[in-house]
């Protein structure tokens, strides 16, 4: 290979890689991030976006270049070069994707761990410990970093979620509150134990980057820690019937005082009633 084309290829690859990294770092395609694991998710997204951009632009570039460079020009006839393979090239493009994929796998394992995905769910809140004795618990994603998990099991706020066609109901065992909206204090680890009354639904809050199916007959758990006050949609993400698209609720993330006020006003009425 002549030295000039080697330099050109090197320069183009460099531009492609740097460009891909730049694009990945600067994309803004995700909604607001409002839970402890959302920024971790966004970090993964940026890395995947960079790798994806590099691969996509590189491949498309090669295809378009080939179509232009090697198209049959007027007056040309005959075949192309009888090149049937090239062992070192083929090893290269087996090894490079293998390494990239391995990197992506290990990195997303790390992300998953930091999102709390690898924590054994049976060691979490006491309420789930109780449930484990009765029914089988299915693992959802648990929240927070590994370090904080020991405290979290003591301090997390347990809420029971019931899904049915076509609504979510939230039950707070502590104040015996039943609510159609999920109210949570900012910064507090929340532990949802969810079960469906009829068909499969899914609990999804895009701003938390979390989703967990809500299944009849098998409680699932979803843990998270909200970080930004606000009202975010809770969306059912599993086809559950004609009104599936309308199966929505809201999670209201409030400062502690606001949450306490809401809790008091609702817990009182509940207590008086019971």
């Amino acid at each position: 290979m002549p030295i000039t084309s080697a330099i050109i290829i090197f320069a183009l690859t460099l531009i492609l890689v740097l460009g891909g990294l730049w694009v990945g770092q600067n994309v803004d395609l995700l909604p607001l991030s409002a839970s402890e694991n959302a920024p971790v998710y966004d970090e993964l997204f940026k890395v995947l976006f960079s790798i994806g951009t590099i691969l996509f632009v590189g491949m498309v570039g090669l295809v378009i270049y080939s179509l232009i460079k090697f198209r049959t020009k007027p007056g040309q006839s005959g075949d192309g070069i009888p090149l049937e393979g090239n062992l070192s090239l083929e090893i290269l493009w087996t090894a490079v994707p293998a390494v990239v994929v391995l990197f992506v796998g290990l990195y997303s394992y790390d992300i998953y761990d930091r999102m709390g995905g690898m924590q054994s769910l049976s060691h979490e809140g006491h309420h789930s410990q109780e449930l484990i004795n009765e029914k089988r618990i299915w693992g959802g994603i648990s929240s927070g970093s590994v370090e904080s998990s020991s405290q979290e099991s003591i301090t997390s706020l347990p809420i029971e979620v019931t899904a049915m066609q076509f609504a979510f109901l939230f039950h707070y065992p502590e104040g015996d509150i039943i609510s159609g909206e999920l109210h949570v204090p900012v910064g507090k680890p929340i532990s949802l134990t969810m079960e469906s009354k009829d068909v499969i639904h899914a609990f999804w809050v895009p701003e938390f980057r979390l989703k967990q199916d809500v299944i009849p007959g098998q409680p699932t758990i979803l843990n998270f820690t909200p970080t930004k006050p606000g009202r975010y949609p809770i969306i059912c993400a599993e086809l559950c019937g004609p009104y599936h698209g309308g199966m929505r609720s809201t999670v209201v993330v409030e400062e502690l005082e606001g949450y306490k006020a809401w809790f008091k006003s609702n817990a009182k009425t509940e207590l008086i009633e019971s």
Partner: protein, 550 residues
């Protein structure tokens, strides 16, 4: 092994043979193709209805139940009545006997039965909409929704998918037998055109995984009719087990839709770039690697179903690794183009469009395989975008490419290239306009399978619907081209592309027995650029001509 020779006298000829229980693999192949295309048009009309509904954020065009029925029919028709039968049945039946040097498939009668299961199954599925109301639980038919929605439509759906599955299994057995047992003496496995390897791999997947789907759907029908409790939590059943069984078939099913397309592209690119297929051996091994890995990744569809952490991790790693053999194939195709003498015609444009679209679908696929990434976008429009980049941008683009490539063989006439390139342009733009924005919708909070959505998504949905409209319009120049070329297209001759694979070494359309005279022995189907091979082909052509004149 005896070679089955359909005797001409027993078969109807002319137009009638396409409506008969013909045993000729070429007739059956075209029956699959035309029948599949009709279902594609029906599925496309349903897609149009979905996109019209989604131009506004409220549910206003279809009633909610009908919307879910349309959604279910669209998915089921496109998968089981269009892509699977066409990439396997149509091109497989037409080409495989040529490629192995046989005069028909191993079991011609089974072959005809396999095809004739399809029209009644499809008609049944579609008429269920008018008579009882169609199934409305999505093409995945997850219980308990599929147990609690109206039973009649769901049962008809189950019966027709069972028939289509049966058809697919019969076809698979036939392809395996034909490729392994009907090869012309002297033809070695590693000399077969790549489409044979793709069909061998695909048929193994079909035969291993389709029975699991059949068993699962039979259990589901028991739950519906006999009130058994396999998947009914009210009776102690387990709904997640259904998902495992369903995806044990349906992940391989995505490869059943795309591996044959990989094979077809491997035939088309060398011909129009006048170059040997790059890396034949690694291509064969990567097909087999995809087959093995493809059986081990199903639970990546269930990351939010309450799967335990170890299982999530295993399926993340296994799924990610499929990207390696898949990547090899793409690099090999680009290397096939490299240094070629490329004719920029409709066939190569659709094939290159496939490469571009599939690369994007593959990249989002690897992202979806990462559990932490998937839990946000699972069951959203991001997934809808991913798999349409694969199934439409991949398989459907390849089907169009293949029609441009083989139409001259099928009919003896050339298609109009200007119309073809125009068709490509509109399809490519329409497709990307329709599906690229859906990635954003999913990331930002629009779930899939909904008839209503947040007003903030209205503009992007309208953009997507404009893309869908372009896709619909792009069908018109294609249909016109197919129609008019049949009568006024330039006469193709035996081998208009100067290709080396055996289907071109006979008349267009070929005689019932495929070749007048002995089947040619093609040991270098991709021997472009090598003088000896081109000479060899020329001499076969001349020989055939001489025989015809005698």
């Amino acid at each position: 092994m005896t070679i089955a020779t359909p005797s001409e006298s027993l078969q109807p000829s002319g137009w009638a043979k396409y409506f008969s229980f013909s045993l000729d693999h070429k007739v059956i192949g075209l029956q699959y193709l035309v029948c599949g295309f009709i279902f594609y048009l029906i599925g496309g009309i349903l897609a149009g209805a979905i996109r019209i509904e989604l131009t506004s954020p409220i549910s206003d065009f279809l009633t909610r139940n009908v919307y879910n029925q349309v959604l279910t029919l669209h998915g089921t028709i496109m998968i089981f009545l269009w892509i699977v039968p066409v990439v396997n049945g149509a091109f497989g039946n037409y080409l495989i006997p040529f490629y192995v040097g046989a005069r028909d498939m191993a079991f011609p009668r089974l072959n005809a039965v396999a095809f004739w299961l399809i029209p009644p199954a499809g008609l049944m599925l579609i008429t269920s909409y008018f008579i009882t109301g169609a199934a409305e639980s999505g093409w995945t038919a997850y219980p308990p929704l599929s147990i609690t929605t109206p039973a009649a439509g769901q049962l008809i759906w189950i019966v027709s998918v069972l028939l289509l599955g049966g058809s697919s299994i019969f076809g698979g057995i036939n392809f395996i037998a034909t490729i392994l047992k009907l090869r012309r003496p002297g033809l070695k496995l590693m000399q077969l055109p790549m489409y044979c390897w793709a069909m061998l791999g695909t048929s193994i997947l079909v035969v291993l995984s389709t029975p699991v789907l059949a068993g699962t759907l039979i259990l589901l029908s028991f739950d519906i009719v006999a009130h058994t409790g396999f998947f009914n939590p009210a009776l102690g059943g387990n709904v997640v087990v259904y998902q495992h069984l369903f995806w044990f078939y349906s992940h391989p099913a995505v490869y059943i839709m795309v591996l044959p397309a990989f094979g077809l592209v491997s035939e088309i690119l060398p011909v129009h770039s006048r170059k040997p297929l790059f890396g034949y051996t690694t291509m064969v091994y990567s097909i087999m690697a995809i087959v093995v890995l493809g059986l081990l990744v199903w639970a990546h569809h269930m990351f939010t179903s309450g799967t335990p952490p170890w299982m999530r991790l295993f399926f993340t790693i296994a799924t990610s690794f499929i990207a390696v053999p898949t990547g090899i194939k793409f690099f090999n195709w680009v290397a096939t183009l490299w240094g070629g003498r490329i004719s920029i015609n409709s066939a190569i444009l659709f094939s290159c469009g496939f490469i571009v679209n599939f690369v994007l679908g593959g990249i989002t696929g690897v992202a979806l395989a990462q559990v932490p990434f998937d839990i946000h976008v699972h069951d959203t429009y991001f997934v809808v975008a991913h798999f349409h980049y694969i199934v439409y941008g991949g398989s459907v683009f390849v089907i169009f490419s293949s029609i441009y490539h083989w139409y001259p063989k099928f009919t003896g006439r050339m298609l109009n290239e200007d119309l073809g390139r125009f068709h490509f342009l509109i399809t490519f733009i329409g497709f990307n306009l329709c599906f690229a924005p859906q990635h954003w919708l999913g990331l930002n909070g629009m779930p899939r399978r909904v008839a209503e959505y947040d007003p903030q998504f209205e503009f992007v949905n309208q953009l997507s619907s404009v893309g869908a409209l372009l896709m619909a319009l792009s069908t018109l120049p294609f249909l016109w081209n197919i129609f008019q070329s049949f009568f006024i297209g330039r006469i193709a001759g035996d081998n208009p592309w100067h290709a080396l694979t055996p289907e071109w070494l006979t008349t267009s359309p070929p005689p019932v027995e495929n070749w007048k005279g002995p089947a040619p022995l093609v040991t270098a189907p991709y021997g472009y650029g090598a003088v000896t091979n081109t000479e060899a082909i020329k001499s076969t052509e001349i020989k055939n001509d001489l025989e015809e004149n005698n």
